[in-house]
Symmetry: C2
Subunit: 445 residues, 2 copies
């Protein structure tokens, strides 16, 4: 084989990273304005069930927990270390953590290869120390790891909502934005990993892990480059879950900026485009599309084909959805005669029985339900647009359907119904165009 | 001239519509679940300073206000009538309102030309009655009018935030969505008009009105067709304010749906495309782009050219912004040598001094301000991305600048700073792509 795999990851490393028994945070701070305090507070408040030890030579206690002057002083073994100390002491910190039993480390500190040759030397030293100790390392120069199913928030902001999308990002901000949106929508994530400089654990390792993680149904990546394309595609080939990638650096100047950011070759965009298509990787063009597509992939059943019916209370939204469907290659097919006949008695007399089907402002949740149930057998999926305050909208579609729900213009009633749907695992989308584009991804491969 | 104008609108009609002295709502309901109650409640609660009379033959009072059995029984003249009675009694209601001094009517009721020949006959009768009485009519079959600067919410939902964007929509839902988003963002609108069937007052009349309205800085349209293209372009030619249009029905099936919705010819998309370009009308491809572009047009100063600098705390967001700028025709130009030299001492040592300029996670509001002030003279505009929780971010850019501010990944701190900016009239955008696309509109004509 032309691209031999490196040794597969020791499962104990990933277990220590995502499901640690005991955690130390080296560099926990007593000063609330410092990130070293905020991350420790998030670790303390996210619901982690095991022991959590702050390490700080100048503090007696942090947030009511006894602090230890050095890793060597910890009263018991820890399998995960969260490290936020100056770059120059990171290698020795990793060695100390190894002696204390750690199998995984999250190095949030910056000052490594992103800063130039001296930082690069320090990064190599830290990686060698980790390798020697049998430690798997996330980072350095990253925004950490959040795993709400284990009560582990070694990151910021503090977000604890459990969901079905695994978020893996080469940018802390992009990952945090996705997590924040998912949290506001009460959808949550299954886990978030900010890879930072990707010194050790990379997108291929994490793809393999999330492919088997029982809480993850879809995987969303923000990437500027792929460390080893053959290895990633190998991992992809054996991943049974859908994957969507926002690959930044698509334009020449964007690519140059990406190469400067990660100090690695981003690669010509066409190469990625071809590989993504071949391996059935969904590609998002924007951050919104990444978020929406991940939601659709994680929460909707895959439709059998491209024939859709649009059911709406808003004629205008139905037209926007039709335009978006045509542009995304979905088929807004005519309503079969039998369906038209069966719908007539259900609908207000002034409805035009067509596709899009405009129930008009008189629409009620009961009417939507009757129409959706009648139409579903005739189409591969439905686009259901609640374009008014529709009390009971959350009862129209069951969880796990192939139907895209779009809500807009309904103000407070809409916000309540949307939150109810999200708590039941029914995703909603904020505009006709975004909902239809996300749905179209489900019919691509 | 090949397209003679119809008589220009009597200014008293538009004054009565947007700044009435006394308002009657015919069809106000006592039942909270009815729209006829909700609209009356919104009228009562939006802060209107003049007398407001509910007309309902079966009620003594509604929301503590004495109700009158018929329009003829009103104790004084009213200049605006809000009408929500069954279609068949709308013509006689309009006649009665005319006798009571009305110069404008908002007919929310449906059941007119959108329903077929009988409804069309009723609509013609209603229009004839309005013409005879000298009444200007919005609707029928519409979501009403909201004019927060006059405390007038003859629409739903109840939204009272005052802003600088005039929203004119052929879809009630699309307009309500724009208003709702603007309200959530504390930006508000200058006015919202839902045109419904556009029996009388149309986009050309309203464009002329908003062109002169002192509170409106930019005008956002959702349109499925233009009633009279020559008249609209004439109005456009004498409008000193920027206009953005989301024209639905761009694809053949979308166009067919639009023609069915409005029962009028939507017209080939290429015709619109050419006319829009010639008359410097901004065209939005999606609802998000309509909203974002209207914000940019209303609140940002127009940059002198296309040269931008991207300043960010998030390398990834900077790359996404670079990609988006390249695709939108903006020029992410190299930093001039003099600027590079002057920035070096301000920046953390590990910053790469380039465009995009990544201040890294160490960025503070003070650092942003210093860098923005140094960079602004060298570029036509700045794209400033707050990709972390940055306390004080709202102090970095003044209102009325040509700079686009993008906020993401900053959770609670971000929400506070964003709200502060919006209250000061500084617009923010939620993703790099959306902010850059909106900014690019400002450099198009």
């Amino acid at each position: 084989m032309s691209h031999p795999d490196p040794a597969p990851r020791d499962p104990a490393v990933l277990e220590a990273l995502f499901r640690p028994k005991a955690v130390a945070m080296v560099g926990a701070s007593t000063q609330p304005e410092k990130l070293g305090y905020q991350v420790f507070r998030n670790l303390a408040e996210a619901g982690f069930g095991g022991p959590l030890y702050p390490v700080n030579p100048k503090a007696d206690a942090i947030l009511g927990r006894k602090a230890f002057p050095a890793v060597a002083d910890l009263p018991e073994a820890v399998d995960l270390a969260v490290i936020m100390v100056p770059a120059r002491v990171v290698p020795e910190t990793i060695r100390a953590c190894g002696r204390k039993g750690a199998r995984a480390a999250i190095v949030i500190s910056g000052g490594f290869s992103e800063t130039g040759p001296e930082g690069d030397r320090l990064q190599q030293e830290a990686l060698a120390a980790a390798r020697e100790a049998g430690i798997g390392l996330v980072g350095p120069n990253c925004q950490g790891v959040n795993h709400p199913y284990h009560g582990l928030c070694a990151s910021w902001p503090l977000l604890t909502t459990r969901g079905c999308v695994g978020v893996i990002s080469q940018s802390g901000t992009v990952g945090a934005a996705l997590m924040d949106w998912a949290s506001l929508e009460e959808l949550g994530v299954s886990a978030f990993v900010s890879m930072g400089n990707r010194g050790d654990l990379d997108e291929s390792d994490l793809l393999t892990y999330f492919a088997a993680d029982p809480n993850t149904r879809a995987i969303a990546f923000y990437l500027e480059s792929i460390k080893s394309v053959p290895r990633f595609l190998r991992a992809m080939a054996s991943c049974p879950k859908p994957v969507v990638i926002l690959k930044a650096g698509r334009t020449p100047k964007g690519r140059k900026a990406a190469e400067s950011h990660t100090r690695s070759l981003a690669g010509r965009d066409e190469i990625y485009e071809g590989a993504f298509r071949q391996y059935r990787i969904h590609r998002a063009a924007t951050l919104d599309e990444l978020y929406d597509t991940a939601k659709a992939l994680a929460y909707l059943r895959r439709p059998a084909g491209k024939r859709i019916a649009i059911i709406t209370s808003s004629g205008g939204s139905g037209i926007l959805a039709t335009d978006a469907a045509e542009m995304a290659g979905l088929d807004v097919a005519p309503l079969p005669e039998a369906l038209r006949a069966s719908l007539k008695p259900v609908l207000p007399p002034h409805c035009t029985v067509a596709n899009p089907l405009d129930l008009t402002g008189d629409a009620t949740a009961a009417m939507y339900r009757q129409v959706a149930e009648a139409a579903a057998p005739h189409f591969d999926s439905l686009v259901i647009i609640f374009g008014d305050p529709i009390p009971g909208a959350s009862e129209v579609v069951p969880a796990g359907s192939p139907h895209a729900v779009i809500c807009l213009g309904g103000a407070e009633v809409e916000r309540e119904e949307r939150a109810r749907m999200h708590r039941k695992g029914i995703p909603t989308f904020p505009t006709p165009e975004r909902g239809v584009l996300a749905l179209s991804h489900l019919t691509r491969f």
